[in-house]
């Protein structure tokens, strides 16, 4: 609607004013996103370190050394595993949750608030809560398992101290954080489906599963992809959960690309190697951006 009237004013009417109004914002973003991005690429091919001011270009040296490092390979693998596992769990759970939240019931506002807490509270603080729940000695999960006689006292595993359990914990906390966000997006998508369509299907004798697979899921594909694409970005590029929960340990078993980039580039002062590691995020970002544009474009055409 607004699109047709948008073209009627055209670009030529008040271009000077338009440029004056959006130039400051564009300039700001160019300086604080564009320039650092170019610098990140430059650093990745250089020998920049914290404490020295200049740097020399060294070609592919950084990439050669990080590709040979076992920590990097672990981090790359973990990042992919974390992201994929988290997305599968989040999509399944958030769909169920969205269906449950869709029906009106008493106390819905309070329920919604409680369910949204993981997303709306600062992520570093929520993760600290999990660190306490998963504590090596005072874990409430351990206490319950001991009380149920599944483990003898003091013999329960350390949730964050063993590689596989630590990985599972990191994935779980990511899911915990993303499920509310994803569920709200799904809810918005479901409420956009015209009520007559599922009703008509029900009259024609379509059951729950048939309605789900032939009406709800196809109609929700665009919104589903938006939730997945944001989920991928939020998980793949996040370092807060890993940094607070395990700091990448034990023995790099939960290290991800962002947390390794921080450990190498900032904590370890090797800006060049850190920048090279974080550049491995770019292909995924480009892929997501491309798919996001396709989703937006398709939605406009329909």
């Amino acid at each position: 609607m607004s699109r047709t009237s948008g073209t009627s004013t055209g670009a030529g009417q008040t271009p000077a004013l338009a440029i004056a109004m959006f130039a400051p914002a564009v300039l700001f973003i160019a300086l604080l996103v564009g320039v650092p991005f170019v610098l990140a690429v430059l650093y990745a091919f250089s020998d920049a370190r914290i404490g020295t001011s200049g740097f020399h270009l060294v070609g592919l040296e950084n990439f050669r050394s990080i590709l040979q490092s076992p920590s990097f390979r672990k981090a790359l693998r973990n990042s992919v595993v974390f992201t994929l596992c988290a997305q599968v769990i989040v999509i399944l759970c958030s769909n169920v949750l969205a269906m449950a939240l869709e029906k009106p019931f008493r106390g819905r506002g309070l329920v919604r608030f409680l369910i949204l807490l993981p997303w709306v509270a600062p992520v570093s603080l929520g993760t600290i809560g999990w660190k306490w729940i998963l504590d090596s000695i005072y874990s409430v999960i351990t206490w319950v398992l001991v009380a149920l006689h599944i483990y003898r006292p003091y013999s329960a595993p350390m949730w964050l101290g063993e590689p596989h359990l630590a990985m599972a914990s990191v994935i779980l906390v990511h899911c915990w954080r993303l499920i509310p966000f994803s569920a709200v997006i799904m809810l918005a998508g479901r409420s956009a489906i015209p009520r007559e369509i599922p009703e008509a299907a029900a009259i024609d004798g379509a059951g729950f599963w048939r309605t789900l697979f032939q009406i709800n899921i196809p109609m929700m594909t665009p919104i589903l992809s938006v939730a997945v694409l944001f989920g991928i970005i939020f998980t793949f590029t996040d370092m807060t959960v890993v940094y607070i929960l395990t700091a990448g340990g034990p023995f790099d078993s939960t290290q991800t690309l962002p947390s390794l980039a921080f450990a190498t580039g900032i904590a370890g002062s090797d800006l060049a190697a850190g920048a090279a590691i974080s550049l491995f995020l770019v292909p995924v970002l480009v892929g997501v951006a491309y798919l996001m544009l396709r989703v937006a474009h398709r939605a406009e055409v329909v």
Partner: protein
């Protein structure tokens, strides 16, 4: 008839069960913060005690310690100050830009709008290494002004996106009429469009402020002195002395800092979500 009633009861109990499961799974960490906040240390650290019960009377000691003997209040103040400044910078740059892209630049503006939205997808973990040096060169290292400078680069793109949608929904006859009455386009924007866009602008205010409270990576990278911390970094990093976790006051801090943010964010969530869905719902 009987079967139908049974089915209905079954569906209802399934509904309640699903909701109960998610409430427990998602809200439990916050419930657990409340419990730890008011428990005496001996109770917290006696492994044999049932952690779900108050085996000793509740205490306000952790809250007293948090507010009296840590820099928690200072961190809250830092965060609030940064929040206000970032909101101001965001509004100053994003409101005119969004208007220009929504109205003045036509189809070309739409493309630029999408490009700006895409910069929102660029994460801090890609830029924090070069930015740490930019911040050092500008002499802002260890100062809260490092994040005041950098955070708007995260808030502006999404704010422009949200506001563009908002401005497009305002009928352009409004400004046309004002311009017939002799106002310039910019005056019409300031006097006619901005006042009726208060709710859209408020959404951006909340979005920018909550982002400031939620961000972790840049604050961790740029600021080291304890007294200059933002609340999201100060609590997890500086409330821990060496290897000793003061769990009671740590949980109290998480609770006190999260709840107000959670309440405000919750009120505006639907509008943010509308922005996230990138026009994939009509």
């Amino acid at each position: 008839m009987e079967r139908a009633t049974l089915r209905k009861i079954g569906a209802r109990s399934l509904h309640v069960l699903v909701l109960a499961f998610f409430i427990v799974a998602l809200a439990f960490p916050f419930f657990w913060m409340v419990v730890a906040t008011f428990k005496q240390n001996i109770d917290l650290y006696t492994v044999e005690n049932n952690p779900f019960l108050f085996n000793l009377p509740p205490t306000l000691e952790h809250l007293r310690f948090l507010f009296g003997e840590t820099r928690f209040v200072r961190w809250l103040g830092n965060t609030a100050l940064v929040g206000v400044l970032v909101v101001a910078i965001t509004l100053l740059l994003a409101v005119p830009a969004a208007y220009a892209l929504a109205r003045l630049a036509g189809r070309w503006g739409e493309r630029l709008g999408i490009a700006i939205f895409l910069t929102y997808l660029i994460p801090p973990t890609l830029l924090f290494i070069p930015l740490s040096r930019v911040v050092a060169i500008l002499g802002l290292q260890d100062s809260i002004f490092s994040v005041v400078l950098v955070y708007p680069s995260m808030t502006i793109p999404f704010s422009i996106w949200l506001l563009m949608g908002f401005f497009k929904s305002i009928p352009r006859e409004l400004e046309d009429a004002a311009m017939v009455d002799g106002l310039t386009r910019f005056q019409a924007f300031l006097r006619m469009v901005v006042p009726i866009s208060v709710s859209g602008i408020l959404t951006v205010v909340i979005f920018a402020f909550t982002l400031v409270t939620q961000e972790f990576v840049y604050a961790l990278t740029f600021i080291s002195p304890e007294r200059n911390q933002m609340v999201g970094v100060g609590i997890p990093i500086y409330l821990v002395r060496g290897d000793v976790y003061y769990w009671g006051s740590l949980m109290a801090a998480c609770l006190v800092a999260s709840l107000p943010i959670a309440v405000i964010y919750n009120l505006f969530l639907d509008r943010f979500i509308a922005g996230f869905t990138v026009g994939s719902i009509k």
